[in-house]
């Protein structure tokens, strides 16, 4: 026993064990606990009497939850497509030997250092119809100009898309730019020899060759979408009405403000399942690649 202990001092196993224990308890243990609670009638206090999948039935007949999910899909698709397109375009241009490249890069990337709370508040102030852009354009004499997306239930979600693209386009730019810089000169030579137009070279040769990098961008953006909470709080608080509610906010609201632990847990588990389903293909290929 003492020999064993003495040997451990020279080995990494104890540090590894403590780390795994933390991850096992706080991450995976918490998930099982949350899952178990989603099978109970818990409201304010946990109630450990399982009742089956009733909470999930309640969840998927809950109008607010269904709207939240729909909003997340709309927001997610527009945000991911928009951020990728914008970020990749910026990366391509930044790779074309432009003047003042580092200045442009600094400007494109700084929103990433700004919290989503401050991002949301800033965009809210800019887009507020009474004092923001709309008032500004009206002052120039165009009295009928209307840009009330922030307060319009049919449009508010697009303001969230705009603000989050603002926040993450630089991230995609940096990652894709790193990939572009790693592309072999021979490939460019071959493209030139073939006489392929530049835009086709990017769309058909360069970007397809960077699939793993683009996939990791998509993975990052997807997890942002599912976790999206701060920006909504700062910008719309889920409104007007429930037009910008999303699952992450639904779960937190039901945990703490509406004290319905069972339903909140069911919502959280659905968020987790969605993350895993969306990430599974990525992890599968990554895992295969490594082993």
């Amino acid at each position: 026993m003492t020999r064993w202990l003495q040997r451990q001092v020279y080995r990494p196993d104890i540090a590894v064990a403590v780390f795994f224990a933390m991850v096992a308890v706080f991450f995976y243990g918490s998930i099982f606990w949350t899952f178990f609670m989603s099978l109970t009638r818990s409201t304010l206090m946990p109630d450990y009497q399982p009742i089956g999948f009733d909470q999930y039935i309640k969840l998927f007949t809950n109008h607010r939850w269904l709207v939240s999910c729909l909003n997340m899909v709309i927001f997610g698709v527009l945000y991911i497509v928009g951020t990728l397109a914008f970020g990749m375009l910026l990366a391509v241009f930044a790779d074309r030997r432009i003047a003042a490249e580092s200045l442009f890069r600094t400007i494109f990337l700084y929103p990433l250092a700004v919290s989503l709370i401050v991002t949301g508040l800033s965009w809210r102030w800019v887009l507020e119809p009474v004092n923001g852009l709309q008032a500004l354009v009206r002052q120039t004499g165009w009295e009928s100009f209307t840009f009330d997306w922030l307060t319009n239930p049919d449009r508010a979600i697009y303001t969230l898309v705009m603000a989050s693209i603002w926040h993450s386009a630089g991230l995609v730019m940096v990652i894709v730019l790193a990939g572009l810089r790693g592309i072999d000169n021979d490939l460019w030579k071959a493209i030139r020899m073939e006489g392929i137009p530049l835009w086709r070279a990017y769309l058909q040769v360069i970007f397809p060759g960077m699939r793993p990098i683009i996939a990791s961008c998509v993975v990052l953006l997807m997890s942002e979408v599912i976790r999206g909470y701060d920006l909504i709080i700062a910008m719309t608080k889920g409104g007007p009405g429930i037009s910008t509610e999303m699952p992450a906010k639904f779960a937190v609201d039901y945990y703490f403000a509406r004290v319905n632990l069972g339903l909140a847990s069911a919502a959280s588990i659905m968020m987790l399942v969605l993350s895993l389903v969306l990430l599974a293909p990525y992890f599968y290929t990554e895992f295969r690649r490594r082993t």
Binding site: V9, Y10, P12, I31, Y110, W125, N131, D230, E286
Partner: protein, 294 residues
Amino acid sequence: MSYVVSSRNATFGSRAARIGMYAFLVASAIFFLLPLLLVVINSLKPMEEIRQGNLLALPINPNFDAWVAAWQSACSGLDCGGVRPGLWNSIKITVPAVVISTLTGALNGYALAQWKSKHANLIMLLVTVGLFIPYQAMLYPTVKILSTVGMFRSYVGIVFVHVVYGLPYTTLLFRNFYIGVPDEISRAARMEGATFLRTFWSIILPISTNVLVVVGILQFTGIWNDYLLGLIFAGNDSMPMTVQLTNIVNNSRGAAFPNVNMAAALITAIPTLLVYFLSGRYFVRGIAAGAVKG
């Protein structure tokens, strides 16, 4: 064939394309700068000028009155002490949380890189999946665990949560770095009789300064900008700045002072922006390292 690439660093062939590209870049720069610029401009205006409702107009009498008010007298609920206490709380939370999570991440990452097991890949996969678990699926059990030991809604509690929730992330970043460090270094140290901790502390840490800075910056930005964990796990007397800022902005009592709110938002954003501008290269490297895992 004017638009054909001549070499990888060639410019666009046609002049028109080149002008179009710069137009796009400048327009993008304006898009990125505009919101924050408007906030800065309007935070320098007195209320009379704000009421005229022209966001883009430069302040006629620029002054820092709104900043002073935001700093020491803006109200959140009944409490009218500005963002000053929040700033102090955020510093008190962020500094230890960054130091502890970075160092434990380095230790764990080194241990994992040294640890040889045939299940290593599977376990690394579980840790990596841990990065993508939505906090919502972990929040409530963490609340229960922390209340059991009396750390819920306390200063120690929020620091602890930041460290634990950040653990898989920092550990993986360091592991990916240490995997590339030659094994001979550790082996030589063990030959000399150095223990695992001793090797880590005196040999491995000193050669990791770059990655320590990168991870430290990532953790600093993440923890300073956090809202959700602070909202749930911080006590009333350890509330971070982001939470206090939203309380000030959403304070419905009395008149609204957009200029003061904007100044408060800027004060909240300054620390991470400073880190970004002062450490640009490291910040960018961190993003690349964090994104392209493995």
